[in-house]
Each structure stands twice: as C-alpha cells, then as structure tokens.
Amino acid sequence: MKKSLDFEINLLPVISLLAVCISFLLLTTVWIHLASLDITQAHGTESSSEEENKKNLWITFESSGQLLFEVKDQSGKSFFKETSRSGQDKKTRDQLRAQIAKVTEEFAQLNSTILRPHAQTPYENIILLMDLARESQLKEIGIAPL
C-alpha cells in the first residue's frame, strides 16, 4: 500500500497568533508623528561673525500681513528686497516657496536666515516660513525676539 505523501499545515494557530499581534499593535501604534523644527539661537558671549561680507536672508513679518524678503550683509548693505503676501493657503505657500527659491538661486552662499516676526504674527506662519526655508536647503534659521 502506498503511503500518502500529502502534508497539510494547520493554519488556525497561525491565524490566531496574527490576529492577537494585530490587535495589540493597533492599540499601541502611534498614528500622529511628532517631529521638530530647529532654530539656532545665539547666547551668552557669542560674538558676531568677523566676516562682514557674509550675506543673510531677513524675512520680516509686517503688521499689514506682508512679508519682506531682504538679503543684507553684516554691515547692513541690502542686495535684495521684495515683499510677498503671507498666509496658509496653498496658493500663498507656492508663492512663498517660489520667492525663497528665487533668493537662494540668486544668492547661493547665504549664511543664515533670520525671521523677524511681528508681535501678533501667528505661530503657524513662523513655522511655515521655517519649513519653506528648510525645503530650500537653508540650514541656519534663527528668530529675532521682540
């Protein structure tokens, strides 16, 4: 008599195990991921850079809601000046992205980006500008306190 060569795997324990794993992971998984945006703050006895020809991008939040983009060196000489609208809608974001890209294209060796918010500037607008600056590879971002 020939011996049967059939081999059957009992899948029920496997399914039970997977169902328990899925239930546990669904209960413990974090769905909202927190991340951070870093700024560089000067503190204590740090002095300004000795290289006065280093250019910085200054983004000023005006009380009217406009944004002033300015490229200045350490001596205060201005090389670029343009205003743009501020906001959270997609069209404004794209305009701001294009504006920052224009600045980084024209001034490839920008030292740092400094944001100068107004007292009533919403926090999310500051975060938006920081996000767009990082997208354009501007690493050193600082915020000027009031």
């Binding site: 503190h43 996000d131 997208e135």
Partner: protein, 155 residues
C-alpha cells in the same frame, strides 16, 4: 470510494474540520465548505509587518491639553530635551506648571542643552518671544519647535 474517503478524512487535519461526513447516509448530498485560508494569512502578515514598521523608537512626547500643533513637512526627528508646553496662559515644564517669573530660575536649574517648545499654532509671537529670550540667556543653544509631521520626507 467510501473506504478512500473514510481513510483520508480520518488522517487529514483539514479534512476533519470540513463538513464532509464519510458516514453520512447514502443518497444524501453532503455540503462541503472549504475555506481558503492562505489569502487571509497573507493579509494578516502584511498588516502585522506594516504595523511593526510604523512603530517608531523615537522619544515619546505626549500631547496634552487642547494644543493643536502646527504642521510641517521638512522636519527633524524629535530628540530628547526639556519639554516646555504653552497651554493658554500657563507654562508647563515636564507637565508641572511653572509661573512666568519662575521660568528663568527653573530653566537654569534644569541645565539641559535642548529645549523643546510645544505651543498651539494660533498663539501670537508675543507669547513666544519672552521664552526665546530666556532660553538664550540660560544657555539653551538648541531650541526645537514640536510640530506634527505632514506628508513628505522628513530630514
């Protein structure tokens, strides 16, 4: 035929779970339901792998209060540091309420390198500015703003 059915059903684990009864009365039609479990196991495996990959090993920072964090796309992984939460008019350091006049001494006492600020996206910069000034005065060289990571690659 009956002997073959009887033999195979008694030896097979899968066969014993089917509704086929080899000793059913002659002439009666037996209802056979066979579940194909392979696809179910595939789905479960993919779900488990996805959930395992989604679990991050970064620092657990919990969101408390009614704070709605801003959303950003080009973010960094949140690292360890002192968490300062601005909830309305109150300040919390590691979930303990701190008075505004005690903030300077409290930050000096903690003496950490990194400050992580959690604040609602609608607050005005005038509420944030004093904290940045105090942070720079007390030697916090790294200040991080906690945000919710939006779609897109983080750095």
């Amino acid at each position: 035929m009956k002997r073959i059915l009887a033999n195979t059903t008694m030896r097979s684990a899968l066969g014993s779970q089917s509704a086929l009864k080899p000793k059913a009365a002659l002439g009666k039609k037996a209802l056979v339901i066979t579940l194909i479990l392979t696809s179910l196991v595939d789905v479960f495996s993919i779900l488990v792998i996805y959930l395992l990959v989604n679990t991050s090993a970064s620092q657990e920072i919990t969101l408390k209060g009614d704070i709605e964090l801003p959303i950003a796309h080009n973010t960094s992984v949140i690292e360890s540091g002192l968490v300062l939460r601005i909830d309305g008019k109150d300040l919390y350091i590691d979930d303990q309420i701190v008075a505004s006049e005690d903030l300077l001494s409290k930050l000096e006492e903690m003496a950490m390198q990194t400050l992580i600020i959690q604040a609602d996206r609608k607050i005005a910069f005038s509420e944030l500015s004093p904290i940045l000034l105090i942070a720079s005065r007390t030697g916090y060289s790294k200040v991080r703003f906690a945000v919710i990571r939006g779609d897109g690659a983080g750095t």
